[in-house]
Symmetry: D2
Subunit: 257 residues, 4 copies
Amino acid sequence: MKTLDLNCDMGEGFGVYAMGDDEALLEFVNSSNIACGFHAGDPGTMARTVRAAAARGVAIGAHPGLADLQGFGRRAMAITPSEAYDLVVYQVGALQGVAAAAGARVRHVKTHGALDNMAVVDEKLSEAICRAVRDVDASLLFYAMSGSITARVARGLGLRVVSVVYADRSYQDDGTLTPRRQEGAMITDLRQSVAQVRHMLERGFVRARSGREVPIEAQALSLHGDQPGALAFASGLTQALRDGGVTLAAASPAALA
Amino acid sequence: MKTLDLNCDMGEGFGVYAMGDDEALLEFVNSSNIACGFHAGDPGTMARTVRAAAARGVAIGAHPGLADLQGFGRRAMAITPSEAYDLVVYQVGALQGVAAAAGARVRHVKTHGALDNMAVVDEKLSEAICRAVRDVDASLLFYAMSGSITARVARGLGLRVVSVVYADRSYQDDGTLTPRRQEGAMITDLRQSVAQVRHMLERGFVRARSGREVPIEAQALSLHGDQPGALAFASGLTQALRDGGVTLAAASPAALA
Amino acid sequence: MKTLDLNCDMGEGFGVYAMGDDEALLEFVNSSNIACGFHAGDPGTMARTVRAAAARGVAIGAHPGLADLQGFGRRAMAITPSEAYDLVVYQVGALQGVAAAAGARVRHVKTHGALDNMAVVDEKLSEAICRAVRDVDASLLFYAMSGSITARVARGLGLRVVSVVYADRSYQDDGTLTPRRQEGAMITDLRQSVAQVRHMLERGFVRARSGREVPIEAQALSLHGDQPGALAFASGLTQALRDGGVTLAAASPAALA
Amino acid sequence: MKTLDLNCDMGEGFGVYAMGDDEALLEFVNSSNIACGFHAGDPGTMARTVRAAAARGVAIGAHPGLADLQGFGRRAMAITPSEAYDLVVYQVGALQGVAAAAGARVRHVKTHGALDNMAVVDEKLSEAICRAVRDVDASLLFYAMSGSITARVARGLGLRVVSVVYADRSYQDDGTLTPRRQEGAMITDLRQSVAQVRHMLERGFVRARSGREVPIEAQALSLHGDQPGALAFASGLTQALRDGGVTLAAASPAALA
């Protein structure tokens, strides 16, 4: 019997600006990564999102990003490891405050956008980020891409890591995602997506674009809510997994210990 | 034997910009109000300031302000009580995260600038701010001007309040400060300042500009570090108080209980 | 034969965030007020909006607002007249640069949100704003609410003023809008809106809620694109006015001279 | 008879924060690069700086930078050429507005910090920046490092380029500056600086660290005001150059045509 944690970014509006349909997503995801005011999110949006997630029993996570609202945290920035440490600490703390005020708790952290992308190929940056999470609260779970440098560094620092996989992206032989600009990077066929995830769960492998079988650990599945058709895709995927006997639930800290 | 808590704003730089001489101030103040990234401060500045305060045994407080870096949080803004609640929660949480990562703790909250000035005359705003502090962590002390609406509201909500007084400002008959634009608002003579503070401590009264004796509770003395001569004034005041037998120490939660 | 300038705010997105349906609005408005990066808008959004307006022959205006992206410039702020002057100058200049790069020209200015609301009841603020417009480029038209302090001050400083009226708001005896929180403030019936505008155009009066006829000058009609149903309302209104023989065109500088 | 344009960054404060001693620098520089609100500067600071420069006859230039106030525009960001184009257009336009309101004119543009550093090694980025300047106002001078890709691209697009050299930095064989992290990168000896500049002016060469003579065009000399001792260094350099018969004046558009 396999279990999977459906994980999705949330609370990515800012002020009067909306982003994605959090209400709809909260109906079927198990864990949320909530923007913390740097790449998106503001104190009011964070409070509403935390309350909405708590009301539906969706696990609450911090989603720290770069201080680049204009670029939605998607543009790589040459920050130092020390700057990365400080901005993760600040943003996780801010969401902890918001959660505490709502009678809830931050359970995990997942980095956003360019911060995440930079860390995946930068051991020093990964270390700074993971130390930041550990130093704020060593009991926080850390969501990181299966097989990534960041996941390895996090485990080395004693964090409990939740391995993240993708249903709508194809993989390369080294276990990384096919870059979006390459053909075949995106998987838009629902059945193909379901097959990829089931293969991950049942065998512990993903078939790379070359056909090679690459080992992978599927604990959380990353969903997206901000693209056209994303909601229908996520909904269909969820149904198919559940029909296939997969238990959908937020990753359990006990199971990761 | 009287005790007094010398309290001062800190960490009000931003990025490459410096503000005040925190290192010098930390040598003699007892408690610090650290900017939290809205009116001033950024994650790196906050981390450095928290570590510097902790290293010298200076109590660490959050100093939430309006989201107006360009105006340093000094321009009144028509925010709703709900917005005030959210921005206090966020900023206090952020500093708690920074403090936790540094192995320290946030002990108190004091609002900044226009947020503070607006609350003093607005019961609903005061209530929103005080509920925010309580909801994040009910054990936090709350620094508020002696006799103010904010202080009364805070006590009504169960917060332990530290009464703040001023040495360099004159008072009016109703216990409020003489507005800066009026003559005689500022007290620049050191001896006069020392006399005002000693009178507060020994008698529990301040002599208003009219000559009337107004009851006041002096638990913390607000110092400023960002004006020319401020450091020398604060240093002289401190020495005179200590010579006069006043014990200078951060307000004790136990004593306020 | 009457003419009217259908005027609408535009380009109020920010980064990845969208606001309103500018493309649809540009099909029938005559003049646009383009956000300049403070309350909304960013360099890329401004460039796209200017090019889209220019391509359809819609007049380009600057829409300066308060430096409050989080509040969309809708929260009153205690800025000084000097600060108002500087922020209008900066924002108008920025849009002029964007327009010049696109081979277009900024033809007018209309202030946004709380900046506009504060100016309407503050002669000093109105003067600072109008001097800013004049000092950047004295040939710019200035859109201001018919009968307002701002309109009077602008004319006194030599600016050519375009008088703005509303189709979806009711008026009070002094010619100001019924505040939104009062019943009857909004006019949601299309026929009633058309009647109000035609009465303004044909008689030069608006019937206030009390029944009193108040003189008004209708040169531009303010439309909104960011509320549900707004586009259909604006479209219906436009059609009815055109059917009634009203010429819809951007206010002509020559006619105002 | 040689002439040289002493050029310096200015107006790099923000809100209450000060940076450098612009008043002192304005006493002897010939041209200023004024921050435009992204990496530093705000509408009020820009207005004051423009007026101060105009009052002393110092040429006014726009100094556009990355939208990274927290990092003072010094952290490389993965912006697209299109984003670079838009942010240069916006910032140059904003300063033109400020200058127009002060009865002055923007005469040149020089990019700041990481934006400048990225462009120097990126032809596409250089092209976007130079097209932005040209499209806003083709008569603007463009200050660029002597021999750089940016300078070449700018000339190719028809801009009049002012070649910038350094007195306090050593050069490498390819005409680029020795990176700061390498030994011998900085020249702190005043006589050595003066000799380097005189050699550039009289021979059209700079002696690289290897001893090799590298061709260089010295039209403007970049000075810095924000480091300790910078003002004394700049002042000493200026005096020595003037004593040596060098005419110090803002680069003349006519001479560049």
